[in-house]
Symmetry: C2
């Protein structure tokens, strides 16, 4: 995060998928680093049962005093995790060897495209009234006429959506969670030749990731959690692309542009 130039005091929520070491042991150091860098904003951390005990045990045994408030929220079931003005986070149960959640971040819709020619035709004076309409607010003209935003705007533009599987076998719950996502970040631990091992360990293989991506109608897939046995991830990538072409492999400091949705 430091190398990527992400601020440590920005609004931020952390979602933990499950309580396995490779998914949770980085958290205490991250929290402490934020404190050393004098974070002041409250930090919300969501995750499965056990998260609270873990954080509390660390706080107690190494006695760290934080510069900010930590709010640990244990998720009990699938569904809405939190709702903000601009986005929501939704959880679904993943299918792993431990209780695990997958998450979607869904932006709320933006008002539709603004058509200046329609505004002019209605005699709306350029300036504040236009801005209000562009942001979806009703306007009253000097002549008493009330203009609704939809008279000068196109249809609302849907928000973007990112889904993250965490560690999981193929699961219809994930297909549902990732429905129409712009981006699906998915466990792809083993190759198709190790289907049995993947099933035992609660992980996915490329053909399953492709199946989820296709069924969920996502735009792009990023493969992650690749087993260290693979010197290069090419085998996994090629196997995925047989069923779903728009796939890449996660890399440190990878940057992905997710364009805003425009009117069709």
């Amino acid at each position: 995060m430091i190398k990527a130039g992400l601020g440590f005091n920005r609004e931020m929520k952390i979602c933990i998928t499950h309580m396995h070491g490779d998914h949770i042991l980085g958290l205490p150091g991250l929290i402490q680093t934020m404190s050393l860098l004098c974070r002041t904003r409250t930090l919300e951390i969501y995750g499965p049962a056990g998260l609270g005990d873990f954080i509390e045990a660390i706080e107690k045994t190494i006695k760290f005093t934080l510069t900010f408030r930590l709010e640990v929220i244990e998720i009990e079931d699938e569904g809405l995790v939190c709702a903000e003005d601009e986005y929501e986070i939704i959880a679904a149960r993943a299918d792993h060897v431990a209780p695990a959640f997958a998450y979607s971040l869904e932006e709320k819709s933006r008002p539709g495209k603004f058509y200046p020619e329609k505004a002019k035709a209605l005699g709306i004076p350029e300036g504040v009234a236009w801005a209000k309409l562009q942001h979806g607010t009703t306007v009253k003209l000097p002549n008493g006429r009330v203009v609704e935003p939809q008279e000068v705007l196109g249809p609302p533009r849907s928000g973007r959506k990112i889904s993250y599987s965490g560690d999981s076998r193929f699961s219809e719950a994930l297909v549902k969670l990732a429905k129409n996502a712009d981006l699906l970040i998915h466990d792809c631990t083993f190759d198709d030749g190790l289907a049995k091992r993947a099933a035992e360990d609660g992980h996915s293989i490329p053909s399953q990731v492709a199946k989820t991506a296709k069924k969920a109608n996502v735009k792009r897939v990023i493969l992650t959690h690749i087993s260290a046995r693979y010197k290069t991830p090419n085998l996994l990538l090629n196997q995925t692309r047989k069923g779903f072409i728009n796939a890449v492999v996660a890399e440190d400091f990878m940057k992905i542009d997710l364009p805003l949705h425009d009117v069709k």
Copy 2:
């Protein structure tokens, strides 16, 4: 450790200086990684009071099952931490804002240099007998004469010694611990201009590191725990070198050769 090509199953002990996050929070992930890589050898971890509770709390809350035995030993006082055939580890109290230990690793002496001409003069047949004498074992010749190793060897060659301060203010206990060390790795968090801040936070400044190095008569110093405020460590290095020339700054993957001690 992976990048450095160090094996995860080798004989190894871990010494924790104190229970602050930046010195302890990497430990659980390291342990878990060793387990994922199927370590089988027992791992001993030494550290101050609280270490056991910390490890236990992590084990309990994230339920990790290890492939090897973990032996956590809380050090209660200064002195011998452990003794192996080839080396000893000694602890001294550091002077920090939390209970903290500094450590020395001291190799045991090696037998002295072997003089073949002396062996020949004594009529010792080349082969097994020479090898035994070289390793410090008494040998009985066919003619009944018993040869002591010191008859054919120079004086014992002292082992090497590495000392590590952990986080600490200047302290006579550290001077004593580091006496004649080949290498002293020392806290150098702040520059000499921030002496007050260093004292408050329980850290050292360059002039203090130099003082310790000089008083302890160490051969080399590596400065570590440099505050992130310094874009480059040059200021700290230059200030240290004013009082002790043989100093460098720690870097990831730094390699230091410590030559064996030879006869004077």
